[in-house]
Amino acid sequence: MKPERQEYEGHPIELREREGEFELRIDDVPVGYGQHPDGMYFLHEYAYDPTDNLMGLAQKFINYRSKADQIRRDRESEKGGK
């Protein structure tokens, strides 16, 4: 793993090294992650899509979060319309 920064769908993703530890940040907010003994990564809030590439997992999470947020917004607007 090495420090890295990229933009994905308008969201900055960054792997920042701090005192020997790597911090994952999306939209400049720290995102908790971990690793299984077989090396696969997971995110604390998106733990069931294990992936061997942390930056790739961050991209998948951005897509997933976008869809989930849209579903919640649609649900709220449906409630408001009733």
């Binding site: 971990g34 690793q35 299984h36 003994p37 077989d38 696969m40 997971f42 604390h44 809030e45 998106y46 733990a47 069931y48 899509d49 294990p50 997933y64 869809k67 989930a68 947020d69 579903i71 919640r72 649900r75």
Partner: protein, 239 residues
Amino acid sequence: MRRRKNYRDLTDVERDDFVQALYRLKSDGVVDQLADEHATFFNQGIHRSSHFLPWHRDFLRRFEDALRTSRPDVTIPYWNSTVDTSPSDPLWDNDFLGQFDAAWGLRRALGSDTLPTPQRLQNTLGRGTYDTFRRDVENLLHNPPHNWVSGVMASLASPGDPIFYLHHCWIDLLWAQRQLLNPGAPFVSSGPGFGLNDPMTSVGTTPADVLDHRLINLYDYPPGFQPDPPQVLRDTPAM
């Protein structure tokens, strides 16, 4: 003997008893305690290893034991996520699990991922060895419903959402079905420390202790499966 069945087959009284027992465990702190335990040990062998299925079988039993302290007849029902695939299914009605979303702050977003198909289920049940079966069960049948529900259910602390238990009850049923289809098939260890007689993370129980689900509960099987003694007692080394 406990009998677990599809949530659709619960009587009105059984549904209400289950809901009331859930509220009791939440107020007693048990729900959050078990969610914390799952989060703490998430990547210490309870997933992505041969202990995935037996550890969760034991976890379900502990939760069910706790439920039954206030409602002795309660058992955990199961959610077959290849059949009940819609957010408008009765599973999510406000008089059943729907009410917990707001009450417990679960932040669900039903439909956030793709649920497994019946064909995928049949393919998985046909896997020849425990090793290939448990990999496919975890990756292809177990993971997607966590993400489909979203919110707490997609996180390390997923047992904070009661749907976790209905989902894992179905996963456990699949393991029981697979044992019926493959009597005598050995338990296959995924590596050192993950054998049939190795204590599982966070508990002293071994897979051998829970291998025969009938020592814990019976299931109402889907059509085509006759309850028959699973006999899976021999360990094999990691592949």
